[in-house]
Every structure is written in structure tokens, then in C-alpha cells.
């Protein structure tokens, strides 16, 4: 479908596709198999200016918005949904600074992220605080011009490989959710260590680690906004970042669809290409329809977010953002499962790419809010809207 992208956006897509096909495709199996962080590819992202697509020009970016990030992540994910995550997860870690950072904080951190010299990561989840994020136990105790952080974060994407972390910790446990604050913590800060790297079902080229804070002393200058603003920052970040996950899911699904069509046209059974069988045709038709629907919803949401931002409006877009992520991730799981089905036995072995795509797709239904949490958000927004009308 024609989405009338701007000339700049078409260029970004073209470039991301080039990187995906020329640089990522030849090595994707290697990084998956070895569970290795794809540094050479991240360098390619940096050299090609992709890391700063959504960051304003005054901080060294290209001045694009959520739509630009979405297009890039989708295109990269068509080939590898794990390697693209290095860039997408960095954006997740960057949004708190972009949305709530003061001028000094933005000047200090955004240019390095935009140029790709440094990656960012987002630290909210804890062993006892997953879907119930406000149950976090990490504390930040004020000590003069500093805060002392203590606690453990888990399942942190880009953990260990990123240089800049946006960390959520309670400055006032008595206040519960309203006592959460957000800090920028740099790798190398004393008392900030990394725990074990997780072994995962999918997105194995992406690093997932524990972050351990043991009397970690962080300057008060690194507090984002004010004490107690943490929950708001997290919510606003998710509004902006969920389209990124949706784009990752969409890309994986679109990649699996393309592989399936190509395979169906060449694989011969019963003396003819399997694409000539209606059984296969109907699967392909379902896959294609769902992919296009997910894309239409995601693009519409992203464009709306960018338009709102450009108009200076600060309304929450939680519902649409959650819908895009929820729908795209469900589609990704269905489409990749179907892709494996189209490939049959060959789909189940590692020599063909759809097996990996199916493994990679699963995480999109889980992180940055499970599908069930997204539905909670959507329903809550619906009820609020209805109540507001009366």
C-alpha cells in the first residue's frame, strides 16, 4: 500500500533496507547462533546517521519523529528483529531524556546517542516488578548533591552494552507509585555493576542483563524532571516507544511473509509449486492482510503522534500507541507461525530464516507491556473517554 512517505522518509527506508540486506543478512545467523551483540552492525547504524533519526537537529539528530524511527526499525526488522533492537531499545532509553530532560541534560547526552557513539537503555523492570512496574524496590536516597541508588533491575535490553541508562527508583517508598523518580546513570559509575546475561528463546543477538546498584552515587543533576515524576515519565516514554516495538513486530511479520511467498513459489510438491495450492494461498492471503492492517494502524498512530508534537499538543496517546503494539505483536506471532507452516519441515530447521523469526516474534507480545497489559490500557482509555463525554 502507498503511504505517501516524505522524500526524507523514503531515503531512510532505502538506506535501512540497504543496511539490512547488505550488512545484516549475511551475518544474522552468526549473531543468533552465538548470542553475540552485533557491534559491527551498530557501527553501520552510526555511520549512516540512523541512530539520530528521531532526535532534534539541535542535538545532532536528523529532526524526525516517531514515524521515522518506526520506518527504520520496521525495515531492519524485516531481515533481523534482534539486531534492529539495538537501535530500538536505545530509543526507548533515550525517550525519557528527550521528553523530560532539561537543556543541560539534553546537550550532554543526546548528541552522543544521535551520532551512535553511545547506546542507551531503559531500566524499569525488576524481579518483583514486571507488569506491576510500580512495585519496584530500587531506592534512591538523597545525600546532599547526590542520590544513592540501591537495588536490582532485570531483563534490561542493551544492558551492559549501552553507555547511558535511564533508571527508575523510588525516592520516597512511602508514596508508592508517586514516589518513583527517574535518573540518568552512566556505565562506569561506581556501584553500578552488571549481572548475568540472559539466555533467551529469541532476539539472541540482543543483550539482556541485570543491572545491579550497590550504593551507586549519582549526581542530583542526573535526576530527570523532579522527584516523583518517574511514573509519568515512564508512561509518556511508553506512549512514544511502543510504536517502536510495533515496528519491530511488523518488520518481523513482513519479513516472514516475504520469505513465505518466495518459498511457496519455488518449493515443488505433487509436481507443482506449493503456491498453486489454495491451502497455501489462503494462508498467504491471511498473512498479507494482517501485516497490512498492522502497518496501517501503526503508521496512522505514528503520524498522529508526530503531528500532535509538531502542533505543541501534549495529550496522551496511550490508547492508539497500545493498540498498535498489541495488534502488531499478535500479528507477528501468527504470521511467523504460519510462515513456519508454509515452509513445513524446512521451516523448523535453522537453515531457513523463518524459524528464527518465529522465536524473535514472541518477545514483542511480552516486553514494554504484555499484550494483556496493552488491553488493560486500551480498555482503561475507552472507559475514561466514555466517562469524559458525560
Amino acid at each position: 500500500m502507498e503511504y505517501f512517505l516524505t522524500e526524507e522518509q523514503q531515503m531512510m527506508v532505502e538506506l535501512a533496507r540497504k543496511i539490512a540486506n547488505e550488512k545484516i543478512k549475511p551475518v544474522r545467523e552468526h549473531y543468533d547462533e552465538n548470542e553475540e551483540f552485533p557491534w559491527p552492525i551498530v557501527e553501520e547504524f552510526a555511520k549512516s546517521d540512523l541512530c539520530g533519526a528521531y532526535i532534534p537537529q539541535e542535538y545532532g539528530g536528523l529532526g524526525g519523529g516517531v514515524m521515522d524511527l518506526v520506518l527504520i526499525v520496521e525495515e531492519l526488522s524485516k531481515v533481523d528483529g534482534a539486531i534492529s533492537l539495538a537501535l530500538a531499545a536505545s530509543a526507548l532509553g533515550t525517550f525519557p531524556i528527550l521528553l523530560y530532560g532539561n537543556e543541560e541534560q539534553k546537550r550532554k547526552y543526546l548528541p552522543d546517542i544521535a551520532s551512535g557513539r553511545k547506546l542507551a537503555a531503559f531500566g524499569l523492570t525488576e524481579p518483583g516488578a514486571g507488569s506491576d512496574a510500580t512495585a519496584l524496590k530500587t531506592t534512591a536516597k538523597k545525600d546532599g548533591n547526590h542520590y544513592i541508588l540501591n537495588g536490582t533491575k532485570c531483563f534490561i535490553t542493551n544492558g551492559g552494552d549501552a553507555e547511558i541508562y535511564t533508571i527508575f527508583a523510588s525516592t520516597n517508598p512511602a508514596k508508592g507509585a508517586r514516589g518513583i523518580s527517574c535518573f540518568i546513570v552512566e556505565k562506569g559509575t561506581a556501584g553500578f555493576e552488571f549481572g548475568k546475561k540472559e539466555k533467551k528463546l529469541g532476539i539472541r543477538a540482543s543483550s539482556t542483563r541485570e543491572l545491579i546498584f550497590n550504593n551507586c552515587k549519582v549526581s542530583a543533576e542526573n535526576l530527570l524532571a523532579k522527584e516523583g515524576y518517574g511514573l509519568m515519565i515512564a508512561q509518556a516514554t511508553f506512549d512514544s516507544s511502543r510504536p517502536g516495538v510495533a515496528a519491530q513486530a511488523l518488520g518481523i511479520a513482513a519479513g516472514a511473509l516475504e520469505e513465505s511467498i518466495n518459498y511457496a513459489r519455488t518449493r515443488v510438491q505433487f509436481g507443482q509449486p506449493i503456491a498453486s495450492f489454495q491451502a497455501i494461498q489462503h494462508i498467504l492471503a491471511d498473512m498479507a492482510t494482517e501485516v497490512e492492517a498492522a502497518r496501517a494502524l501503526l503508521y496512522a498512530t505514528s503520524k498522529m503522534m508526530d503531528a500532535q508534537h509538531a502542533a505543541g499538543k501534549k495529550e496522551r496517546i496511550t490508547k492508539e500507541s497500545a493498540m498498535s503494539k498489541y495488534y502488531a505483536s499478535e500479528v507477528a506471532m501468527r504470521v511467523t507461525t504460519n510462515a513456519v507452516q508454509v515452509f513445513g519441515g524446512y521451516g523448523y530447521i535453522r537453515e531457513y530464516p523463518v524459524e528464527k523469526m518465529m522465536r524473535d516474534a514472541k518477545i514483542t507480545q511480552i516486553y514494554e507491556g504484555t499484550s494483556q497489559i496493552q488491553k488493560n490500557e486500551i480498555a482503561l482509555a475507552l472507559i475514561k473517554e466514555a466517562a469524559g463525554k458525560k
Partner: protein, 261 residues
């Protein structure tokens, strides 16, 4: 350092398919790309600029559409570009092309090094690079796989040969043609792509170059294409069958019968 890179736009044969019935190329919808060897030339030019400073000027001779090849070079780090284009240049063979490009390089001003791809993938002649050097009366080194050093206006480069490589020293200005081994071309950057869209690319015709009209285009081309035809398709092969050890024996005995082993 003033670096000139000569490039050519060619049809992309990567995805070209062969018509199984006729054995000829399927030519519909073939896109135009920068000649693959010229990508190495552009990259080497940009790397020299990064090492020694200066600027990279890309030149192409071709139809106005070749403008996109020049913009692609700018997106990868070239500073400016010149499109050498004129109806009267059409039909040029390698001699007329060498003359025209040499005129354009001369008109572009002072230069220290000219870099060309080893050959273009449409004509595969490898003749234009050395031809340009001759017309400019400067030395050249063909098939360069590495520039070892540039010091005191002397360049030392490795020339790929069939049995190894020669190390050659040459005073600048000089022309080199480069092979794939010399580097890995970078992808464009988004900033580069954006600036390439805005770049002003002058178009120079025969008049601007002060070219002798007897030396350009078909008029200035000693060679003429008499006919173009499709080569006869290779006779169909034989598919060996049976157990692996049987197939191996059959193959060896067939090759022996054919006296190739």
C-alpha cells in the same frame, strides 16, 4: 589534495534474469546503478580526502539521468560533481570517451589524483582509465589493490597481476584504476543523502569543454558496432544419477573420455 573520481552509470545486471526459452537477457525494467567498480573508486577517493584533506569531485559522462549516479557518490562523501552530457557525445567508444573525460577533467581545474573503477560492467573494456591518462599526458597504474603511501607527491601503489602484485611508485598527478580488493565501500549516510538531494550539479556539454567535434561521440569513435547477437545457448547438460560412488566413477570416466583429465 584534489581528487577526481570518474564514474559511469550502468544497467544493474545483478537481478537480471535469462529468458529460458531464448537464452537472452530479460531486459524489461532493468534499473540503473553506479558501476560496481566505481563504488570502490568513490570510496578510495573519500578515504584519501579523510587522510590528506582536500576535496573529491566526481565526474560522469552520460545522459542527464546519470545525474542520479553523481548524487549517489555525494551521499557517500564526495564533495561535488560534474555531469558531462551532450547529445553530441552519444555513441562514443572508449577513445572518444577518454578524450571527452580528459577535456572535462582539464576544465575542472587542478588535480592530484584521478581514480577510476577497473572497468564498467556493461562494456567490460577497462580501456577508458588508461585512455584518459594518455589524453591528459599523466602516468597511470591500472588494477590497483592498495595505495601503500603518498608522500612528497609520490604515490606507491600495489598493482594486481595474474600471479601476484607489482609495487609501483608514481609521481602525482597520476591516474589509477582500482579493483574490488582495495576497500569496502561505505553505505551512504542519511545526512549525505539529504545533501546529495540539494547539491547543484553543473552540466557541461561539448561547448563548455571546448571539445573538438571530430573527436567526440560517434564521429570521434574509430570502432563501430557491426552487429549484436545472442550467443548460442550452451548445449543442455547431463544430470548424473545413482549412488554417490557410482556418480563419481561415471563422472571421472566421462571426463577421461573427453580427454580433459
Amino acid at each position: 589534495m584534489n581528487i577526481i573520481v570518474c564514474i559511469k552509470q550502468v544497467p544493474n545486471t545483478t537481478n537480471v534474469q535469462i529468458d529460458e526459452k531464448t537464452g537472452t537477457l530479460k531486459r524489461e525494467g532493468v534499473e540503473s546503478i553506479v558501476n560496481p567498480f566505481d563504488e570502490y573508486a568513490i570510496e578510495e577517493g573519500v578515504r584519501l580526502k579523510e587522510r590528506f584533506g582536500g576535496k573529491v569531485t566526481v565526474i560522469t559522462m552520460g545522459p542527464p539521468q546519470a545525474d542520479s549516479a553523481l548524487r549517489s557518490a555525494i551521499s557517500r562523501g564526495a564533495d561535488n560533481a560534474i555531469l558531462v552530457s551532450d547529445r553530441s557525445f552519444a555513441g562514443a567508444d572508449t577513445l572518444a570517451t577518454s578524450y571527452t573525460l580528459a577535456k572535462a577533467i582539464h576544465a575542472a581545474g587542478k588535480y592530484d589524483i584521478i581514480i577510476c573503477g577497473k572497468q564498467a560492467t556493461d562494456g567490460d573494456t577497462a580501456q577508458v582509465g588508461p585512455g584518459v591518462a594518455e589524453k591528459l599526458d599523466i602516468p597511470h597504474i591500472a588494477y590497483v589493490k592498495k595505495i601503500e603511501s603518498i608522500e612528497n607527491n609520490l604515490m606507491v601503489a600495489e598493482r594486481m597481476m595474474e600471479d601476484g602484485y607489482d609495487v609501483i611508485e608514481v609521481p602525482l598527478p597520476a591516474l589509477i584504476t582500482v579493483v574490488k580488493e582495495i576497500n569496502t565501500p561505505r553505505l551512504p549516510s542519511l545526512k549525505g543523502m539529504l545533501s546529495s538531494k540539494k547539491a547543484q550539479i553543473p552540466q557541461w556539454g561539448a561547448k563548455e569543454l571546448g571539445a573538438d567535434k571530430n573527436k567526440i561521440g560517434l564521429t570521434g569513435s574509430p570502432t563501430q558496432v557491426m552487429k549484436i547477437f545472442s550467443p548460442p545457448p550452451r548445449p543442455g547438460g547431463e544430470k548424473l544419477t545413482g549412488h554417490v560412488s557410482e556418480m563419481s566413477k561415471t563422472l571421472v570416466s566421462k571426463l577421461k573420455d573427453l580427454k580433459v583429465i
